[in-house]
């Protein structure tokens, strides 16, 4: 069993604290992705789990064992580094066998495991080559192979795809997903790319400035972002935000005056709100429609640019009273740049955030 539990984990480098009390529970066999902007502490957190850095305070358990003081080997982890970290003077075979030799495995057993991993990763013809004779994608696979042969309880990946080109990235992403389905190990995967996170994860941990902002399944985060940061980070193109002030509060709804002067009614529980309070409405580009219906908020402006991707078109709109926003319309719509436009959405799709940036439950659809 290899569940992982982090309990109030703090990490400081000198006097600078980079992780401020992280609590995470990871189930056995789960694929967990840490995602967040660059510098938010993802790698540091992963290295704490690996045992490459000591924890400043807090507790960590892997499979019910308290591992704070254990070395990387004793934690039963294998790590794939962003730079691949292949030993440049060893062949592919030796790269994969090196760690096994240290574990005092029999020669036949080592050979079997390396051949097996090479087979899975299609590396068999490359076993005699040096890393410098491999392409980026092949090196990446060797790095993964080196982790597989050790048959670890937990796989740790630190931005494994960031050095690959776009096509290879998609392909390798699929391979990693397949690999996880086959091996069923626990995986902790770090990335700054929310698309990778959404596609791979059973569970996503969103980090920001050393704090966990939200933990949940990809759809959880998409549908119920807990705060402005998560709302803006998950989803592509990112969610549009419109600021407004509450003008009146009714039962299960509040009237909000947006920056362009228009009033709209949003379905929220008004208990903690006061008239005059500031709210932020969040609407995903894909939820904005040309047909304005059902009494939801309406936003409008001047279309600056239209990006046609075929299946969808992205409209970059300079809003009348507020920050610019993006709308994603079906590829069949023929909106031209330079025109004025008005877009609306169903109230169900409106995310509402209070002054502190935290989400307020949408009364019309709390379980959305």
């Amino acid at each position: 069993m290899s569940e992982i539990k982090l309990d109030k984990v703090h990490k400081s480098f000198g006097s600078v604290e980079v992780l401020h009390g992280v609590n995470i529970d990871i189930k056995d066999g789960e694929f967990v992705v840490f995602v967040g902007p660059s510098g938010c502490g993802k790698s540091t957190l992963l290295r704490l789990i690996a045992g490459l850095e000591p924890i400043t305070s807090g507790d960590m358990y892997i499979g019910e064992k308290w591992v704070n003081d254990l070395s990387p080997v004793d934690r039963g982890i294998a790590m794939v580094f962003q730079s691949y970290a292949l030993y440049p003077h060893m062949t592919v075979y030796k790269n994969m066998a090196f760690g096994l030799k240290m574990g005092n495995q029999g020669k036949a057993e080592i050979e079997k495991r390396v051949r097996n991993a090479a087979e899975i990763l299609q590396l068999t013809p490359l076993l005699a080559r040096k890393p410098s004779q491999l392409s980026g994608g092949q090196r990446q696979r060797v790095a993964i192979g080196r982790a597989i042969v050790r048959d670890p309880e937990v796989f740790l990946f630190d931005e494994p795809l960031s050095n690959l080109d776009a096509a290879l990235r998609v392909q390798t992403r699929l391979e990693i997903a397949k690999l996880h389905q086959e091996l069923k190990n626990t995986v902790v995967y770090v990335t700054h790319d929310q698309v990778e996170a959404m596609t791979l994860a059973d569970k996503i941990v969103v980090l920001h400035d050393g704090n966990v902002e939200q933990i949940g399944s990809p759809l959880d985060l998409y549908n119920h972002p807990a705060n402005l940061f998560v709302a803006g980070f998950i989803g592509s193109p990112k969610m549009n935000f419109f600021e407004g002030r509450i003008t009146s509060i009714g039962k299960g709804q509040a009237a909000v005056k947006l920056a362009d002067g228009k009033e709209t009614v949003v379905p929220v529980e008004g208990a903690h709100l006061g008239v005059g309070g500031k709210l932020t409405l969040g609407i995903r580009p894909e939820h904005l429609e040309l047909e304005v219906s059902s009494g939801g908020p309406v936003v409008g402006g001047h279309v600056d640019v239209v990006e046609r991707l075929g299946d969808v078109s992205y409209l970059y709109v300079r809003a009348n009273g507020d920050a610019p926003f993006i709308a994603s319309l079906p590829g069949t719509s023929d909106v031209q740049p330079g025109t004025e436009i008005s877009l609306g959405t169903d109230p169900i799709h409106v995310h509402v955030f209070n002054e502190n940036g935290n989400a307020i439950t949408n009364a019309r659809n709390p379980a959305l």
């Binding site: 690996a50 070395s71 790590m79 580094f81 691949y84 030993y87 003077h89 240290m102 050790r150």
Partner: protein, 276 residues
């Protein structure tokens, strides 16, 4: 285009003429060591001919003196010093650049001083120390002094190189359960081989050529080195040029072999491929 060729040609001419200049004395030593005494004085620039050819110098050096002992002394001192310096130096460089411990910085500064202050300034205290240790006229004395002399620069250069090895490589090895010693011997050492070869050459030459410490620490017959041994042919009134030139010619051979060995490591290291 033309200009570029010209400048490359000029660079080569410059380098070639410098090489010629540097090799000229060695060339003179070589040709004159195969000539009769008379011919040496008559025309030092001449190539040995049938009349002037003579092996009398080599005969004197090899048959009628203890040059075999001097030679083996020099070789033992150089090789043992090299081994100790490179091994201890590389390990110390690894420790200083990899592990953060109390006194790390202080130790680095201390070594830097060792680079800047010539060890010969301490000759008197070194002599006292060696006498007290009862090591006068032993190879051990010279080996210890030379190792001490070579270590600071070795550590300084090697820690620079070790610092350039990506952190990920060491950490990947640690995740693989490789012990710190194995990391050093099987990952770090192979990767800094070119640096080790360079440092090896730098260390070897002054040790092989040194006259000072053999003179004050080990002038006795049985611990004499080649450089000191040559001196017996240089008298106050007469110098046996045949013997001097012949022994100098012979002295080139071992350094040459070591140099070839190291430079092959250098080239192999450079071509063994990128780290990433």
């Amino acid at each position: 285009m033309n200009k570029k060729h010209l400048s490359a040609g000029m660079v080569h001419t410059l380098l070639l003429s410098y090489t010629l200049l540097a090799l000229w004395p060695i060339f003179l030593v070589l040709i004159n060591s195969f000539k009769t005494r008379k011919a040496i004085f008559k025309d030092p620039m001449a190539i040995p001919t049938v009349e002037t050819f003579s092996l009398v110098g080599f005969d004197k050096v090899l048959a009628r003196s203890s040059f075999d002992i001097y030679f083996s002394n020099s070789i033992i001192i150089t090789v043992v010093t090299l081994t100790l310096t490179l091994l201890i130096g590389a390990m110390a460089a690894w420790a200083l650049s990899e592990y953060k411990f109390r006194g790390n910085l202080l130790m680095g500064l201390y070594l830097a001083i060792g680079i800047m202050v010539p060890i010969r300034l301490g000759s008197v205290s070194i002599l006292n120390l060696i006498v007290e240790l009862n090591l006068t006229n032993t190879l051990t004395a010279l080996i210890l002094v030379y190792t001490a002399q070579s270590l600071p620069l070795t550590i300084f250069i090697l820690s620079e190189f070790i610092g350039q090895i990506p952190k990920d490589l060491k950490e990947a090895a640690r995740c693989d359960g490789v012990s710190e010693y194995k990391i050093f011997f099987e990952i770090i050492l192979p990767l800094i081989r070119p640096a080790i070869a360079t440092v090896g050459i730098f260390t070897m030459v002054p040790v092989w050529n040194d006259l000072w410490f053999p003179l004050i620490l080990a002038p006795g017959e049985e611990a004499r080195t080649v450089t000191l041994g040559v001196q017996q042919f240089i008298g106050q009134y007469v110098t046996d040029w045949n013997a001097v030139l012949a022994s100098l010619t012979l002295a080139i051979i071992p350094v040459m072999i070591l140099y070839i060995f190291f430079s092959r490591q250098l080239i192999r290291g450079i071509t063994s491929g990128a780290v990433k």
